[in-house]
């Protein structure tokens, strides 16, 4: 497939890097330095130019491109790029935007701006923060099969009941599969007698209820959050509060600037908005922010986010989720004490890559920096899985492939050795990155 990526910032390069192994990727950027850097870093064709410019797109081969991804940092540029691409060829267009108003227009008007798929950074980030909150201790959460299947990555705490048990012993949640264990940055595909250790990260796939139960049991303290504090009334902060309101929470939101605080208070009827500096210790103590189950920091500055998160943690907040605009800070944040760091660009790159793989794979999550992926596929008659018990078919798949979940007619079937997969079933597979194409072909 020929893919044109417009904009080689963090998002664009990340997408290009994920796709260039299996597809022909052309990257367009207006900055000559970035173009030359990219030419050496990745196996892509890098072109200097403006994505909204007809000649640039033609030079990038828009005529036989299958996919155009507009991923610059500027909403209007992305929209114009997609609109231009739409008139020049029949490539599928994916547009990245920040403003929710464009997403709203696009959702309500079929094919608005000539865009086939729109990804909203702000909303996507807020959604991923909310999913992290809804599942205590989860680090990365994705849903498959229209919400019937969830996958989450958990860090096993020292006092956890599953620590020092084998996978077979720990397997006491009805429809839950242990897909992988990450230990010291090493990837382990578990078998029944693999031990789970404290500080391991386990990746589980199962029904949402089961994943939530597992999360609750994994660490005794996290009985589900109730008191949620959002620090910073940025767009992401606002959308997070709005989504939490939709889910029945009554969050608190701290915003420093008076007029913005008033605006937020008017738009968020169930949220208690407070006007204060998030680093004002007296204020945080008076409002008992330390008693919060989750503190989300969504200020527009990485350093302040870190500071606010650490201060909240120090005051006693159970969990902190912090936004960071810089991808490289994610691990740093988590190393110094923030429980989960979320990078909006990484989130959006993940979403676009997932969508791109949608040829047959319906949903893709990237685990631990591309070492493994989760595929959602529909099993057809010719598949090697069809009409066979899992016990028999799995040895035919590349080693390390795990069948995480099966959905039949919209409901979850827990995969066990004797389960027979039928044509038409959706399967969620956990696959090593290098085996993706082999698996996709076989299944």
């Amino acid at each position: 497939m020929r893919i044109i990526v417009v904009g080689a910032g963090e998002v664009g390069s990340s997408i290009a890097a994920s796709l260039c192994g299996t597809h022909e990727v052309v990257v367009v950027d207006i900055d000559p330095d970035r173009v030359s850097d990219l030419t050496y870093e990745l196996d892509v064709l890098a072109i200097e130019g403006d994505g909204g410019d007809r000649t640039t797109l033609q030079e990038a081969g828009i005529g036989d491109a299958d996919l155009v991804i507009a991923s610059t940092d500027d909403d209007e540029t992305n929209i114009v790029t997609c609109g231009t691409a739409d008139t020049l060829g029949d490539a599928f267009t994916i547009c990245r935007v920040k403003g929710t108003q464009y997403l709203d227009t696009w959702r309500n008007a079929d094919g608005a701006f000539g865009i086939d798929f729109m990804v909203c950074t702000v909303l996507l980030t807020a959604e991923s923060v909310v999913r992290l909150i809804g599942l205590p201790a989860a680090q990365d959460v994705d849903t498959f099969s229209g919400g019937a299947v969830r996958m989450a990555q958990f860090e096993v705490p020292v006092d956890s009941p599953v620590a020092d048990q084998t996978v077979a012993e720990a397997d006491r949640w009805d429809s839950l599969t242990f897909a992988a264990i990450v230990r010291d940055e090493e990837f382990v595909i578990p078998s029944g007698d693999t031990y789970i250790r404290a500080d391991d990260e386990v990746i589980v796939i199962g029904s949402p209820e089961c994943v939530r139960e597992f999360a609750a049991d994994l660490s005794p303290r996290s009985a589900g959050p109730d008191d949620i504090v959002i620090v910073g009334g940025s767009e992401v902060g606002f959308q997070t509060a709005r989504l939490l309101e939709e889910r029945g929470f009554r969050p608190r939101l701290i915003e420093r600037e008076g007029e913005r605080a008033r605006q937020l208070a008017e738009d968020l009827p169930k949220t208690t908005v407070m006007e204060s500096d998030a680093t004002d210790r007296d204020f945080l103590e008076r409002e008992h922010v330390g008693d919060a189950d989750v503190v989300v920091t969504a200020l527009d500055n990485d350093e302040k986010n870190l500071l606010a998160a650490l201060l909240a943690k120090r005051l006693g907040a159970q969990r902190t989720v912090s936004l960071t605009e810089t991808g490289a800070y994610v691990q740093l944040f988590e190393a110094v004490g923030v429980d989960v760091a979320v990078n909006p660009r990484e989130t959006v790159a993940e979403e676009i890559t997932r969508f791109t793989r949608e040829q047959r794979a319906e949903n893709v999550a990237i685990i631990e920096d591309d070492r493994a992926e989760v595929l959602e596929l529909t099993v057809d008659e010719g598949s090697s899985l069809a009409d066979r018990a899992i016990r028999e078919s799995v040895p035919d798949l590349p080693a390390g492939t795990v069948i995480g979940a099966i959905t039949r007619d919209g409901s979850l079937v827990t995969p066990r050795g004797e389960t027979v997969i039928r044509p038409g079933d959706h399967v969620v597979l956990f696959v090593n990155t290098e085996d993706i194409d082999a698996v996709a072909a076989q299944v």
């Binding site: 008033r262 407070m274 204020f283």
Partner: protein, 503 residues
Amino acid sequence: MRIRVDWRTSVSVLGTILKILALPLASMAALALFYSEPLVPFLVPFAGSLLAGVGLERIERDEPGPREAFLLVASAWLAVALVGAIPFVLAGQGTLADPVNALFESMSGITTTGATVVGRFEIHGRAILMWRQVLQWLGGLGILVLAVGLLSELSVSGAQLMETETRTQDVTKLTPRMAGTARLLGGLYLGLTALLAALLYGLHLLGPRIGVPDLAPEMTLYDAVAHALTTIATAGFSPHAKSVGAFSPAVQWVVVVGMFVGATNFVLLYHLSRGDTTRIRDSEEFRVYLGVVVGGALVVGAMLVLDGEYPLGEELVRATLFQVTSIVTTTGYATVDFDLWSAGPRHVLFLGMFVGGMAGSTTCSIKTLRWLVVGKTFRRDLFTAVHPRAIKPVRLSGAAIDEDTIRDIYAYTLVSVVIFGLLTVFVVVDASRAGVEVTEFGAMGAAASTFLNIGPAFGFAGPYGSYEPFPDSTKLVMVVMMWVGRIEIFPVLALLTRSFWES
């Protein structure tokens, strides 16, 4: 001192309003002709207002701004009251012949108060008694709403004028043009009045045909129109000494509904008339208004049962619901002399005077909207006392109210209560000066009832009584207070400030 108000514009528009006033006066002259009553009492003010109107209109006018609107609204209500008093003086019958009494009756009419100084109703001509009803109907929706609806030349500044007249809410434009909105509201007002008149007269006609002769035997066409005019206007004059008590239970029930509808927000009624029920169901103010009426009736009813005033039954329900609705909607009708009730129910009715119906209706008093905002704001303040940094907008039916409006509403409510207090003291002092015996409660009732435009009070000014015994000085102050209260204080008080007249 140079006057900065473009008073010429206000006077010129006032001329237009006087010109329109000639129309109802002419129709009253026609009614007098029909009943073979003297025509002079109507022809003189008819000619006067027509000439004055046409004359004043010739003054060159500009677009009225906020100041001109204040001046116009204040002077329009006063001028109509003055013209409206002329027929009573010229007719020269009974207590109304006295100029002070005539002015009191006229102001009480146009402000939809319903406080009367008529001693014996039967000595007055039918046209004169109908004039009282018509005055109330003209004042019901607001003189300027009617004027803007009638005259397209006022259309651009119409929003300004209508907003000055009813301060409680920004005028909701139902159509792109203001005149269209005024016409819709006016049409709805007229339609509801006509519907009620038809219902009342329909009961009268229907009774003998379905074999229930006492369904509404007294409700003649004249009475049906007369009561329809002052029910939807929540005004309260009746050509009968016994008010609606002179009619059958069926009529009383219809009137209860009419009063309730009249004090319901007309924008909601408009949407309801188009089949949209969601707005009225979502309106918090409507729920509170309904709650006040039903809750008040339950309390009064329970007290009356304990007093042994009524046995449990239809009569109890009707009597309590009627008096409570009448007071809360600021209509001022009565079906029983509630002044004879014990202290408990009378005090509840007294408190009910301060509530009023919904904003944007024909009601007067402080209005449920303001009380609702005051209550919600106070609850918010209790919250922010504990969380000083919290920003918590006050919401009404989901929408946030801005802080300026809240301040405005607090000030209005406070000023209303203060004026009521001052007026009470004045009534007591002036009555004792003139040697008229007024009880403390009677004075409070009369002060609240006139300033808040309800009508009947307690003691000799009770529902079946008259304000006539008050000294002239008290009556004149009450005239001013009815005027101030009806146009929601600000237009009149603004005229008294120096900054209004200067730059």
